[in-house]
C-alpha cells in the first residue's frame, strides 16, 4: 500500500490528496507547488552540477586566450575568429569550418533517415504484428543484445569484414561479381554511415515502439471500419500518433551523431572531417579555449536542429 501510494504521489500529487491516509494529509499541508519542486529537486541539482555549471565554464573558457601551455583568463574572441578563419576571404571556396559542418550534417542526415526507416518498421512489427506481450518484450530485449558489448567492439568488428581483403570483398571476388576489391567499403562515408546506423538504430526503435504500443487499437479498428486502406491508416492514424516517439528517437540519433568523432574517426580512417573531431584535435593540442569555442558552436547548431524539430511536434503536449 505504502509503495503504490508513493508511486501515485510521484505521478501526480493531486491524486493522492484527500485519500485519507496520514501521509497524504501531511503532503496536503505543504503547498502543492512546493511538493513539485521537492520532487523535481534532486534531478535539478544533478542537472545543475553536472550539466549547467560545466556548460557555463565551457562558454567562459571559450572566450579566454591561451598559449602553448596554459589558459590565459583574459577576454579574447580568438577561439571563434580562428575557427571561422577564411570564411569570408576564401569565398566562393568554403572555409574549413563550413566544410566540416556540411560533412557532419550530411552524415547526420543519412544516418537519421536510415535509422528512422529501419527503426520505424522494426517498431511497427513489434507493436502491431507481434500479438503477445511476452513476445513483444522478448523481441525488444533481443534488440538490446548488441548493447551487451562495447560500442568500440561493435564498430571495430566491421573492419575485417569490409577491408580490402575482408570477407565481403573476397566473397564477391570469388563469386566473380567483381574483379577488383571494392575500396569504398571501408574507410569511407559508406562505412561510417553503416557503423553509425548499426550502433544507433536501437535508439530509434525504443521510443517509436513506446509510442506505438500506446495507440488505442480501437482507433485502428475504427479506421478499418470507416473503410481506410492499410496505407491510409498508416499515414493518417499511426504516423501522427507515433510522432512523439519519432521525434524523441530523432533527437537521440541526431545529437549523438553530431558530436561523434570516434566512430567517424575509426570507420572513416581519420580522413573524414567531423565537428567533434575538430574539438578533439584542439583538445589534444592543449588549445582548450579553441576547443571550447568549437563546442559552443556545435551546441548552438545542435540546439537549433532540436528546436526546429520540436516546432514540428510539441513533445510536451504529446507526452
Amino acid at each position: 500500500m505504502d509503495t503504490s501510494e508513493d508511486i501515485l504521489q510521484q505521478a501526480s500529487p493531486d491524486l493522492v490528496r484527500g485519500s485519507g491516509t496520514a501521509r497524504a494529509a501531511k503532503a496536503a499541508r505543504l503547498s502543492p507547488s512546493f511538493v513539485s519542486w521537492l520532487q523535481a529537486g534532486p534531478m535539478m541539482l544533478v542537472f545543475l552540477a553536472f550539466f549547467l555549471i560545466p556548460l557555463v565554464f565551457v562558454v567562459i573558457v571559450s572566450f579566454w586566450d591561451y598559449n602553448e601551455y596554459q589558459l590565459l583568463p583574459a577576454f579574447s574572441g580568438r577561439g571563434y575568429t580562428d575557427t571561422f578563419e577564411g570564411c569570408i576571404a576564401q569565398l566562393p571556396d568554403l572555409c574549413t569550418i563550413a566544410k566540416t559542418y556540411l560533412k557532419t550534417l550530411k552524415l547526420c542526415f543519412l544516418v537519421w533517415a536510415i535509422t528512422l526507416f529501419i527503426g520505424f518498421w522494426v517498431a511497427y512489427f513489434l507493436a502491431f504484428h507481434v500479438k503477445s506481450r511476452t513476445w513483444q518484450m522478448g523481441l525488444s530485449l533481443l534488440c538490446t543484445i548488441p548493447f551487451w558489448t562495447s560500442n568500440v567492439i561493435r564498430m571495430i568488428a566491421w573492419i575485417p569484414l569490409l577491408g580490402r581483403n575482408g570477407l565481403v570483398n573476397s566473397g564477391l571476388v570469388k563469386t566473380g561479381a567483381i574483379n577488383q576489391p571494392l575500396e569504398w567499403l571501408l574507410f569511407s562515408e559508406f562505412s561510417v554511415v553503416l557503423a553509425l546506423v548499426h550502433l544507433f538504430t536501437f535508439f530509434m526503435v525504443v521510443p517509436i515502439f513506446n509510442s506505438m504500443v500506446r495507440i488505442d487499437k480501437s482507433l485502428i479498428e475504427a479506421a478499418y471500419d470507416a473503410g481506410a486502406a492499410g496505407f491510409q491508416t498508416l499515414v493518417n492514424v499511426i504516423i501522427p500518433l507515433a510522432k512523439p516517439g519519432i521525434v524523441i528517437g530523432s533527437i537521440f540519433v541526431i545529437t549523438i551523431v553530431m558530436g561523434d568523432f570516434i566512430t567517424i574517426g575509426v570507420m572513416g580512417g581519420q580522413q573524414i572531417a567531423a565537428a567533434g573531431k575538430i574539438i578533439e584535435t584542439r583538445v589534444n593540442a592543449l588549445q582548450f579555449p579553441a576547443a571550447a569555442a568549437n563546442a559552443v558552436i556545435l551546441l548552438v547548431i545542435t540546439f537549433l536542429i532540436i528546436t526546429m524539430m520540436s516546432r514540428i511536434v510539441d513533445i510536451k503536449k504529446e507526452l
Binding site: 566544410k99 577491408g163 571501408l186 574507410f187 580512417g269 581519420q270 572531417a273 575538430i278 592543449l286
Partner: protein, 429 residues
C-alpha cells in the same frame, strides 16, 4: 604450523593496510601520520605516467624484486600524457614522456628537473643525447626538438633550457629510436629508397601516415624535401608559409585518394599493414617486428633522406619530495642499470645507457640488434616469442648506421597553433 598461519594472517593484514595506505596516497595525502604500524609498512609506490612504450609487466615485476618499489602504471597516449601533466600534475609521481613535449611542459612549471649528480650512470648515457653524435662520432641531424637542445635547465626552478650542460636535467634519457617507412615488399615488389615514395601515385589508396599533427607534418616534410619541391631550414619548426606549402602537398595527395587511413596507435598501424590495407606507411620498429612475427613480410625501410627520430625520458611531478623523491631516483637508477635497457633493446628500441644493457644481453642478441650482424641464433622477444630466425639481419643495420642516419626529431613548432588549424583544414579537404 601455527606460525605459518600467523604469518599469513599478518601478511594479509599488511596487504589490507597497505592498500588503505595506497588509497591515502592516491588521495594525495602523502605520508600517513598517526598510524605508526602503517608507517612502518608503508609500501614504496610510484605512480608512473607514460605511454605504453617503456611500460611492461616484466619491468615492473623486476623492479619490485630488485628495489622493493611498486610501479603503478598510468597509461595514456602521447597527447593525453601531456594533457595530464598540464591539468592534473598531482595525479602522478614519475613522468615518462617525449622530449618534444618539453616545450609545453617545462614552461608550465609542473615538473621537477632531476639532479644529474644523483644518476649513477649519467656519464655513461649515450652521446646521442648529450652531444648529438653517435658513440662512433657520427653527427646526428638536429632539426626539430633534438634532445640535446632541451636536456638541461639553467637552474633548479628555471623554465629556460640551458645551452650547455648543467646538473638540472629535464628528462633523464631512457629510450629512443629512429623511425622510417614500413613497407610490404611482397606487395610492392621493387626497392624503395626515398620518402618521396609515400606520395607516389603508384600506391594510391595504400599509404598511411601518423594521425598526430605535429608528427604527421614532419613525415610530410620529409616527402616534400625528398621530392625536391622545397628545402626547409628546420622541418621541426616551420614558418607559416612552409606549413601552408607542406599542407598543400598533403591536401592534393588526400584529394587524389593517396591515403587509406591515418593511424594513431601501435595496433592500428600493425593492423593496417598486416591486413594489406596499406603497403607503405610511417611506422615504429616494434610494429614492423609484430607484423613480421605474424608471418607477413614487412620491412622497416632505411631511406636515403634519413630517419625521423624520437626520444623519451623520466622526470618527476613538482609535487614529489622527501622519501618519494628518493624512491624516484632509486627507480630511475634501476631503470638505467641494464635490465630495462636490455628489455627495450630486444623490442627494437634503443636504451640510453648502452653499456649496462649490453651486460644484460646475450652476445648474439647484441650483435643482431645493435651491431647489425646476421643473427647467430633465433631472435626472441622479451616474452620468449620468436621474432626472427637465425640468419636474419636487422633492417637499417647497426646502431651507428641507424642513429647516425637521423635527419630530424619529433617536435612542437612555434607555430603549433596555426599548424593544428591547418591540420583540421587538411582533414576537411
Amino acid at each position: 604450523m601455527t606460525e605459518t598461519t600467523k604469518k599469513t594472517g599478518v601478511s594479509r593484514r599488511t596487504l589490507l593496510k597497505s592498500t588503505a595506505g595506497l588509497a591515502g596516497l592516491a588521495a594525495g595525502s602523502g605520508a600517513i601520520t598517526g598510524f605508526p604500524y602503517v608507517m612502518s609498512a608503508e609500501p614504496k609506490v610510484l605512480r608512473y605516467l607514460g605511454t605504453a612504450v617503456n611500460e611492461g609487466d616484466d619491468i615492473s615485476k623486476q623492479c619490485l624484486k630488485d628495489t622493493g618499489i611498486k610501479i603503478e602504471y598510468i597509461t595514456a597516449t602521447t597527447d593525453d600524457v601531456t594533457k595530464r601533466v598540464m591539468t592534473q600534475p598531482n595525479s602522478f609521481d614519475v613522468l615518462d614522456t617525449e622530449y618534444f613535449s618539453l616545450k609545453k611542459i617545462v614552461p608550465s612549471g609542473n615538473i621537477l628537473a632531476l639532479d644529474s649528480r644523483k644518476i649513477k650512470e649519467f656519464d655513461n648515457i649515450t652521446p646521442v643525447f648529450t652531444k648529438g653524435q653517435t658513440p662512433g662520432g657520427k653527427k646526428i641531424g638536429g632539426q626539430g626538438t633534438a634532445p640535446w637542445k632541451v636536456l638541461y635547465l639553467e637552474g633548479k626552478d628555471s623554465k629556460k633550457f640551458a645551452t650547455s650542460a648543467t646538473e638540472f636535467v629535464t628528462l633523464i634519457p631512457t629510450v629512443y629510436n629512429a623511425d622510417t617507412l614500413g613497407v610490404r615488399p611482397d606487395l610492392i615488389k621493387r626497392p624503395i629508397s626515398s620518402w618521396a615514395e609515400l606520395l607516389n601515385p603508384e600506391f594510391k589508396g595504400k599509404a598511411s601516415i601518423l594521425n598526430i599533427p605535429s608528427i604527421g607534418i614532419m613525415d610530410a616534410a620529409m616527402v616534400v624535401e625528398a621530392s625536391g619541391k622545397y628545402k626547409y631550414a628546420d622541418k621541426g619548426n616551420m614558418t607559416k608559409e612552409e606549413i601552408d606549402l607542406t599542407m598543400k602537398v598533403m591536401i592534393e595527395a588526400k584529394k587524389a585518394g593517396q591515403f587509406r587511413a591515418f593511424w594513431k596507435d601501435f595496433n592500428e598501424s600493425v593492423n593496417l599493414m598486416a591486413s594489406g590495407e596499406t603497403v607503405i606507411q610511417s611506422m615504429w620498429s616494434p610494429a614492423v617486428t609484430k607484423v613480421r612475427s605474424m608471418g607477413i613480410a614487412c620491412t622497416f625501410q632505411p631511406l636515403k633522406e634519413g630517419y625521423r627520430s624520437w626520444a623519451s625520458g623520466f622526470c618527476v611531478s613538482k609535487g614529489v619530495s622527501g622519501a618519494k623523491l628518493e624512491w624516484a631516483y632509486e627507480f630511475v637508477n634501476w631503470f638505467l642499470a641494464g635490465y630495462a635497457g636490455a628489455y627495450l633493446n630486444r623490442q627494437g628500441y634503443y636504451s640510453a645507457v648502452l653499456s649496462t644493457a649490453k651486460a644484460h644481453m646475450e652476445p648474439y642478441e647484441w650483435a643482431y640488434w645493435m651491431e647489425g650482424k646476421a643473427a647467430e641464433k633465433d631472435i626472441k622477444a622479451p616474452d620468449g616469442s620468436l621474432l626472427e630466425k637465425a640468419g636474419a639481419v636487422r633492417d637499417g643495420g647497426s646502431y651507428e648506421d641507424r642513429m647516425g642516419g637521423v635527419a630530424c626529431w619529433n617536435a612542437v613548432m612555434d607555430e603549433n597553433d596555426y599548424m593544428v588549424r591547418k591540420w583540421n583544414e587538411f582533414i576537411a579537404a
